[in-house]
Symmetry: C2
Subunit: 550 residues, 2 copies
């Protein structure tokens, strides 16, 4: 039986990871991370639970990567700790991966890193995998046609359909059609934008808008975008060239990404067009275009530093035009808005997604999703990459296109989809969670630690220190009260002084003859101080009494 | 000189409050709150800094409220502590205010609460104020025409222009036009939606969409919306009636709001149409429409309880249709998405803003904003209600409509706009912040307390307890290490055991003869433990060593 085992990305956006398994052969598609949700205080990022892979370690023959976004490759260092197998991806993807691993001082034998070109095939055990070019916001993305002993399964990766993309980087609709003609057992398709009607705007339209916006501007043009958006970068380069502006790349991730793209020939940069950031004041402002990072409001990135006036080389001026050519990712709106407000205050003009069509999503809208189903004509349909609502809506869309309801398999992470001669169905399920990464700690920060952080963050902490003479029960130290994050002591510090009276009353009441006295005092102190603070200031700090007997 | 003093809402969305002042006469327009931003850990809500009002207390003659949303009335209890003056608003607004004050056990002399009907006028010292009906998502909203000794100032409140709104509740464009004919010195206009091109969709369109969506549904219809959206509630009532469904109101705020609207005759509810929630299982599902709260994902509201299966009377079934007829307010998206996902998992169909036009904003889009400027033909223009970017864009829009650039005054909170015979300009500015409310604490939670909460929330806390003999310097207690929110002790607890060795080494090294020894030990402990935890687990907890000498 062919088993398709989703470990991440089916039930959330991000954290994509999936296992294909047939008897003793298995491989992994993608190993992504996710950024923490608000309630995951102090967590750096989140990766999929890899227990299933650990338990079947010996079966794994390879890791196949669809493209170079963090939600597809970010968990790779952790996966490589579990299985040391060859990795396969397109040239751009593999270059980014190599870079990333080296940055983390993870050196991985070069012979295990394989570059595969679209329409090339790859054999992993019983699986015969063909890479199919897809257009996405990250350059050099692919979908997969996976021939298995029970039939062909098509996995779209993240995709949209655009016919006016960078040379040879458009989605290979013909190959998907060819798969459809050969017969596709199941299609696994990207659900991210299933809520959106119609088609994504074309890159050409975005290019035209960018051209129109930048035309005739007297100051510098500063464009913020994602480092992996090579086609958008190429558009900005082309526009800059056509209007006589030099190009400056600023920001570490963009410089890395552009260097990789240049080396692969994915970026065409005419001789002499690029100048160094240090030359920014040597030529007139209307001859400068700066391509930079930080369009999500990341506080340490170049754009945020420009907005706050702390960028070393670039001080925003009255005539500058800043273009944020990327989506407002939910959760980042306030940080992005802050940058926009600050840039406006410095007198720059700011163009962003909400006021102009200067960005287009990398994920297919409804009509493109329907086209993918029509091209591949699958017997079974499995929506992937989305929260439950996206998977549900994509399932409905597939039904509209003619996939019989009983052949649409709505699986979430941990639900194993099995295919054999009897067809496809959910054959098994197991618990698979998310693993939180905090510093070097992998998975030790869970519900209880987060709850403690939450409690500390809400109303802070009050610590009481006292020492009693072990024999006489007399107070030999304290009560000393220390608080953190509770009250501003110069304003409401008298509360803490008054709390000492509450404590001394308790000590007096629970006399030296009471059995287990110190413990009794501790319990009463917890209770009475909670009541006292609730009554006086309606806050509920964590109360930690330390009562020493010496 | 007429002084217009913005205290909130010019530089952010929410927290609206503004003072009009002329010699010894002054009044306040609105007293709003804002919900805390992510970094304001543990804060309940935010109100404007009222210092300016305190300092000019004797001048104030009244408080004028434009409508009943929290960002316009939520800070009223705090304002009433500073000035005890008459309050003016429309019948719905005043009913909501009375309710709110009573809930907080604030009883305010009835003779100070004044209901004003649109087109009625009100005299406060030198000011002659006329209420002008505006259409907004909260029912019974008004703008103001304020005659002052230097000329008439028009304040739009929150508004949009809709001609198909509830009876007599459409924006009174004629009155605004009349003001324009009489001569308007300055227009202060709502900037919230200035980023949006065109016009807001009409309520009629939303009604048609709601009708289409609900037609022929076999199960119950459950509509989540804001309690003050009386016109939307009326639409749902009308649709329910037309298809033979009974109506149930569920959720405290909606019940309050509907009762007020019924008493005022703002809601038309045919006899016998409303049934009690306890009857929900007594009649067939296709004869039930439930109007409820929680469309922003509020975890304790009715919708969230339905989604998690903890609602007492309403268990979601396969055929139920849930309609979230409200905006996804930034910051709430994840909470709303969770509810949608959970409802889908329970088998309900869910319709929401992103997939269907079942909501329309209460704030004017660009064309409506332009119309307001054209109607009132102001000499000066002051954009209000928005972040700096919104104010900037609205200023540009006004320029396009023909207001001379030098007559557009872009002020933020604390910048006083003055008008006299020489015209209008920013005449002064002062610092005015935001006041954070946490429990009963007003303003004592500031930068330093928030920073402590932030630090505690990120990597938790490690406390070290030790006692030394005051005379010999010998350890008589400890080291005892207690942590909260740092590591999960059954997984990484050995770290804390090992940390004890770090501590004992320090104590050994800093001998009893070292001057100020305990302090030395404390400092070293802070430093060495920080290094130790950073090295071993790359986390940076707050470290609190308590070293007692007894």
């Amino acid at each position: 039986m062919l088993k398709i085992v989703p470990l991440g990305g089916l039930g959330e956006i991000g954290l994509n990871m999936m296992v294909f398994e047939y008897q003793d052969s298995a491989f992994v598609i993608d190993a992504g991370l996710m950024f923490p949700e608000d309630y995951m205080l102090g967590v750096d990022y989140v990766i999929p639970d890899m227990n299933y892979i650990k338990q079947n370690r010996s079966k794994f023959l390879g890791i196949v990567l669809t493209h170079a976004h963090e939600d597809h490759i970010g968990a790779l260092p952790f996966l490589l700790k579990e299985i040391s197998v060859p990795i396969f991806g397109t040239p751009f993807t593999m270059s980014v991966v190599r870079n990333k691993l080296e940055e983390q001082n993870l050196f991985f034998a070069a012979e295990l890193m394989h570059e595969i070109i679209p329409r090339e095939r790859l054999r992993l055990g019983v699986f015969d995998i063909e890479f199919i070019r897809v257009c996405h916001s990250a350059v050099d993305g692919v979908g997969l046609a996976i021939k298995t002993p029970v039939g062909m399964v098509v996995h779209t990766g993240d995709f949209k359909i655009s016919h006016t993309f960078l040379d040879h980087m458009a989605t290979d609709v013909n190959k998907f059609a060819q798969c459809g003609e050969q017969g596709v057992l199941a299609l696994l398709s990207d659900s991210t934008n299933v809520e959106k009607e119609g088609y994504t705007a074309t890159d050409q339209e975005v290019g035209e808008t960018l051209t129109r916006i930048t035309a005739g501007r007297k100051g510098r043009i500063i464009v913020g975008l994602f480092a992996s958006s090579i086609s958008r970068i190429q558009q900005v380069i082309d526009i800059a060239e056509s209007v006589g502006r030099k190009v400056i790349f600023n920001g570490r991730s963009i410089e890395t990404s552009v260097n990789i793209a240049k080396a692969l020939g994915y970026i065409k940069l005419p001789e002499g067009l690029e100048i160094d950031i240090e030359q920014v004041n040597d030529i007139p402002d209307d001859q400068i275009a700066i391509i930079t990072t930080g369009s999500q409001g990341e506080p340490m990135a170049a754009l945020a530093r420009m907005a706050t006036g702390t960028h070393k080389q670039i001080k925003i001026k009255q005539e500058d035009t800043v273009i944020l050519s990327s989506k407002f990712i939910p959760g980042n709106e306030k940080a992005i808005a802050k940058i926009i407000n600050d840039l406006y205050r410095r007198g720059a003009d700011v163009i962003y997604e909400k006021i102009s069509e200067i960005h287009v999503s990398g994920h297919a809208f409804q009509e493109e999703l329907k086209l993918m189903i029509s091209l591949t004509k699958p017997k079974y349909f499995i929506p992937i990459h989305g929260e439950y609502r996206h998977l549900t809506l994509h399932a409905r869309l597939a039904e509209q296109v003619g996939i019989p309801k009983e052949n649409i398999l709505l699986a979430e992470n941990g639900q194993i989809v099995g295919f054999d001669s009897n067809g496809g169905r959910i054959v098994d399920s197991f618990f698979t969670g998310k693993v939180l990464i905090d510093g070097k700690g992998v998975g030790d920060v869970g519900r209880s630690v987060l709850k403690e952080r939450r409690n500390l963050s809400e109303d802070g902490l009050v610590i009481v220190n006292m020492a009693f003479d072990e024999e006489t029960g007399v107070i030999v130290y304290g009560p000393e009260i220390v608080s953190r994050g509770f009250v501003f002591e110069t304003e409401t510090g008298h509360l803490l002084e008054d709390a000492k009276c509450v404590i001394l009353e308790i000590v007096e009441e629970i006399g030296a003859d009471v059995p287990d006295r110190v413990n009794e005092i501790r319990l009463r102190m917890q209770r009475d101080l909670r009541k006292y603070f609730s009554f006086t200031i309606r806050r509920h700090p964590v109360i930690l009494p330390f009562l020493l007997e010496v």
